[in-house]
């Protein structure tokens, strides 16, 4: 499950939030404790015993499937093996089969493009709205916050049903608006999801709509932390509002922007629920698959699905390695 919107509200909000409160512990052991007493066996084992309950479910629910999937991706494992035939090692064959198929490259290309376009749009709209929020009066700000929070808090499946209906060919409001007030009568029975291009357009509208509230609130919270004195000093020096934003506020919230952008990339690459639900609404699946739905469609061929999932993990890693390295340096 994830976070809001993206919520494909995917299960994992892979959000590494910094501590909600300033971390108070300095690193060296025993520094805060006046006289480090001789530690008993029990107190040395203590932290490990505390960690164990958290480690076991993660190892079972994530670690084991991950390793198993990786191993399977080098084996022939299909229906026959499910009925007891031992799996054969086939080396890289699953990978070469997949990667020599132009269709698979199409899926990868579409997914990466979809991910980058959606992440970029979400960031642009989100930052713009966050800045807008700092510039308006109390009433307008609260209206905006309530609107965004409602959109953010609604379960993904519920919002997906509304969006399906808004874009419904027969009873949808979108077609009605285009046909009636705007006079485009050709749009009366228009199906938005039958053509891949407009399918992705609809998916993008939905994903961006779902993702923006998180970006707005996070960036807004960051902008509020920019020290007042800096802004005043810049104002005295004659910087106008745009210059203060461009050269002062945004650079100061850059760490926040980086985290948020990274999360968007991760979330948008793995987008599943929105695509799956739209496909079920009657779109041609083969032309509209992205990585998540494609892996799901391979479910019957475990080895292929495993290989494809491994490829997806590699793509995720490639797209995020920059941030992970940064994190390794700063976080721990």
């Amino acid at each position: 499950m994830s976070a809001p919107r993206t919520s494909s509200a995917p299960v994992l909000p892979p959000a590494p939030p910094r501590a909600a409160a300033p971390p108070v512990h300095p690193d060296p052991p025993g520094e805060r404790r006046p006289a480090p007493r001789r530690r008993s066996l029990r107190s040395r084992l203590g932290p490990y015993l505390l960690l164990l309950p958290a480690l076991v479910p993660v190892a079972v629910g994530l670690g084991y499937p991950l390793v198993r999937q990786f191993v399977l991706s080098f084996q022939e494992y299909g229906l026959a093996q499910q009925f007891g035939r031992p799996a054969e090692w086939v080396g890289l064959r699953n990978y070469t089969t997949l990667l020599s198929d132009p269709y698979v490259w199409g899926v990868i290309g579409r997914s990466v493009l979809f991910c980058l376009v959606n992440a970029a749009l979400t960031m642009a709209v989100g930052i713009a709205v966050a800045v807008l929020m700092t510039r308006v009066g109390r009433g307008a700000r609260i209206t905006l916050q309530v609107g965004l929070l409602l959109a953010w808090g609604t379960p993904v499946l519920a919002t997906m049903t509304v969006w399906q209906w808004l874009f419904d060919s027969q009873y949808g409001v979108v077609n009605w608006l285009l046909a009636e007030p705007l006079g485009l009568t050709g749009m009366r029975q228009h199906s938005w999801i039958i053509e891949p291009a407009s399918f992705y357009l609809v998916a993008t509208v939905i994903v961006v709509w779902m993702s923006v509230p998180f970006v707005v609130f996070t960036v807004y919270a960051g902008l509020l932390q920019v020290p007042e004195e800096c802004m005043e000093a810049a104002q005295l020096d004659g910087a106008n509002a745009w210059q203060r934003l461009r050269h002062l506020s945004l650079p100061m919230v850059k760490p926040v922007l980086l985290v948020v952008a990274l999360l968007q990339v991760i979330w948008d690459l793995r987008v599943f629920t929105q695509i799956y639900v739209l496909q079920r609404a009657g779109a041609p699946t083969r032309e509209t698959h992205l990585l998540g739905t494609y892996i799901y469609s391979l479910a019957k061929e475990f080895s292929m699905a495993g290989a494809m999932a491994t490829i997806m993990l590699v793509i995720t890693f490639v797209l995020t390695v920059f941030y992970i390295r940064r994190m390794l340096k700063e976080e721990v």
Partner: protein
Amino acid sequence: MTAARPGAPAAARRRARGGGTGRRLLGLLAVLVALVWVFPIYWMVNSAFLPTNRMRTGEPSFLPFGGTFSNFRNVLTDSAFYDAFKVSLAVTGLTLVVAILFAFLGALAISRFRFRGRRSFILTILVVQMIPAEGLFISQYQMLDNWGLVNAVLGLTIVYVAAILPFTVWMLRGFVAGVPLELEEAAMMDGLSRTGAFFRITFPLLAPGLVASGVYGFLQAWNEYTLALVVMTDPDQRTLPLWLQGLVEANRATDWGLVMAGATLISVPVIVFFLFVQKRMSAGLVAGAVKG
């Protein structure tokens, strides 16, 4: 490095800047943006009250005049709704209890103890969160299948707990670290044991953190769709999101009002909980990220 304290500094800044027509235009723009985001939600609730024949006219009704409760009645008299509700409740409840308890112990370990492997553990927590569920679900399905846990509350709970734990540990770590050790030490000076000091002094201060992570876990498990779709293939074991999707597929183009009533019903409690916890979540996300 402090958590976001919205309000005070921003308000001062705004007052300093003054108003004008430009501000009013921006205010108007803000309201328009709010409308764009709120419209689908409004549309969901509004349509849930409209009778079926009104929806079939092809002319959308933008206001709930002539409303009816019949859509809600139809949903609430459907036994499938209650079945799904029960499954959702069981999975979410079990996930929450296990995840919060285990995460709390883990958070305690990393914020109150120094030990070998602490850094690697923190690193694992952070990296694990990057793994997309969609890159694992087939494998998770297979694992549960081998154990006979497909279509079982326990099976879905296992993958949910694994998915939620890392973030919850991280979130709680912040709360535990926020309670100064000195408080505990002072209590120990006054004669309490270490455990006693923890439970009498620190634990009560952690209540808000536990509630916040609890609500967070609730939202994740309650709304989750992808893993439920993979694990709960039997229509009798559907969770609420799966039930809603089934409702859409059965009534598409025939009864959108019914579908919207279903969507509204499952959304309202979630939105309430969400509003309650949102601030804490996003404050936790950014706190410390801006170095002032």
